[in-house]
């Protein structure tokens, strides 16, 4: 029997019909964006990772490395985005060595889309891929089922509608670097404040011909506030009538072992 075996998928669906659901994978909830400007690409992402209603990671990294000149933001299932981008990043290095050429953004896009299509949407990775190569600056969006779009500005994730509202209002062609960074920040913040699946900080990554700059935690609008009062009880507030101190370390013996080989030798 050739091809893929989807019988587990059938089983899962029939169990779900009997109200036995799969556990929630950690999802990045997420707002991720990408924006083309005069000198290159700016990518942006929030930093909240959720497991159902709980925030699993308050400061995770959603902008993944593909190659020196290419980065990929990931929304959807955190494990899927992490492993997909890592696999393609590895394959891109091998590809570059094999062809003797600098990696191209369309190559990464094609590798990702073909893998995702092959898995028929079971890999929950929604990606914003951006980079610069010898053919210019390119920005792509890749959906879990394997469809791609090439656009000058893109948003993905649960906060994508909030972020897209910002882009549609303020994006212009040929913006300056700082204007693009500010716009990306505004877009991510729209997701952070208005989408429950997104939050914490703004990560920004600027990809230019001269190089890539990763601005981790470019903006931190959600730092824990200093409490107005000290809520700890000072020492002496609780009265006690008796004090007893017990030592639990009865005997300690230090034994020197002869060399590294001696430790691991199992035949001796």
């Amino acid at each position: 029997m050739g091809g893929f075996d989807f019988s587990n998928d059938l089983r899962n669906n029939s169990l779900a019909a009997k109200n036995l659901h799969l556990p929630n994978a950690t999802s990045t909830g997420t707002t991720i964006v990408g924006c083309l400007y005069d000198g290159g690409i700016v990518l942006g992402a929030d930093t909240r990772a959720t497991a159902g209603p709980i925030v699993a990671d308050k400061n995770c990294e959603k902008i993944h490395y593909i190659s020196d000149n290419i980065r990929c933001c990931g929304a959807g299932t955190a494990a899927d985005t992490e492993f997909s981008t890592a696999l393609i990043s590895s394959n891109m290095t091998l590809h570059a060595l094999s062809t003797g050429r600098k990696p191209m953004v369309v190559t990464a896009m094609t590798m990702l889309k073909q893998m995702l299509f092959q898995h028929q949407g079971q890999i929950g990775a929604a990606l914003v891929l951006g980079g610069i190569d010898d053919t210019g600056a390119h920005l792509f969006t890749i959906h879990p089922h394997g469809s791609t779009d090439k656009l000058p500005y893109v948003t993905m994730g649960s906060g994508s509608l909030a972020a897209m509202a910002v882009f549609e209002s303020f994006w212009q062609p040929k913006m300056t670097r700082q204007a693009a960074i500010d716009l990306v920040c505004e877009a991510i913040e729209a997701g952070i404040w208005n989408d429950l699946g997104s939050g914490s900080n703004v990560d920004v990554c600027v990809i230019e011909k001269t190089g890539t700059e990763m601005l981790r935690n470019y903006k931190t609008p959600n730092e824990k506030v200093l409490k107005e009062r000290n809520y700890k009880w000072r020492r002496g507030v609780t009265a006690f009538t008796k004090e007893e101190v017990r030592k639990f370390v009865v005997k300690e013996e230090v034994v020197t072992v002869q060399g590294a080989a001696g430790v691991m030798e199992v035949d001796a």
């Binding site: 094609t110 073909q114 299509f117 949407g121 394997g146 469809s147 656009l151 994508s160």
Partner: protein
């Protein structure tokens, strides 16, 4: 599979949840000397428009294009495979593939994977053997050659309009002259519209005005022996009908 009723209508019609949909209005029409193809530019995920400026007119070979409707992922994957296979064909035969070859290639892909795909394609182009030709490949993977074809969710609204309006005797001269002079792309005056382009444009605009899954802008292409000419009609310049707004 034994036990299942054979039916002329395949069960493949629905996208999986979360899949990106090319709702769509697509069409193609033959004229003496080539074909005109056109599509709207809307891609949706549920009620959200994922891409409002999509290009659904996909290059397969130098004089062969296909219009895509249905699942974005499925149609992109199919077009990529066909593109590669046609490049191979050209290399092996030292000649461009004819439109018929491209159409049967796509039909093969769509039919043999009919239970896993959601793709409605229109293959159109020019070759020296037949001139312009149009092939419709709807959901089940059947191949239907004709002088014109429409497809996508928006096409249902314009079957009547197309049946009533289509004429075999639209003039070749006007079409080719206007294309060659490159007036298209300049001012969008009504002058250049007296050709095969106008009926196609109106058909698409009608479909887009009634179908929620179609909209945005209109992209068209004219494929002749001399090449492929692209036309873009922005959303604010779409033909309007009885509504004043």
């Amino acid at each position: 599979m034994p036990g299942q009723m054979t039916s002329l209508t395949p069960d493949v019609s629905h996208l999986k949840s979360g899949e990106v949909n090319l709702g769509t209005s697509i069409m193609a029409c033959v004229f003496p000397g080539g074909v005109v193809i056109g599509a709207d530019s809307r891609t949706t995920t549920g009620a959200y428009i994922a891409n409002r400026v999509t290009d659904k007119l996909t290059y397969l070979h130098e004089r062969v294009y296909c219009c895509r409707s249905g699942s974005a992922a499925d149609t992109q994957a199919i077009a990529d495979v066909a593109h590669a296979q046609l490049q191979l064909y050209a290399m092996q035969h030292s000649e461009r593939p004819s439109v018929h070859i491209a159409a049967t290639m796509l039909e093969g892909l769509c039919y043999s994977n009919k239970d896993r795909l959601s793709a409605g394609l229109i293959v159109a182009g020019w070759d020296p053997l037949e001139g312009g030709s149009v092939y419709n490949i709807p959901l089940g993977g059947g191949l239907f050659k004709g002088p014109w074809a429409i497809g996508g969710s928006g096409s249902t609204y314009i079957y009547g309009y197309c049946d009533a309006t289509y004429r075999e005797d639209w003039s070749k001269e006007e079409t080719v002259d206007f294309v060659r002079n490159g007036e298209i792309g300049g001012e969008m005056g009504m002058g250049w519209m007296t050709s095969y382009l106008l009926p196609s444009l109106l058909a698409l605009a009608l479909a887009m005005s009634r179908d929620g899954s179609s909209g945005g802008t209109i992209r068209m292409a004219i494929i002749t022996e001399d090449g492929v000419e692209r036309i873009f009609v922005p959303g604010d310049q779409l033909p309007k009908f009885w509504e004043k707004a």
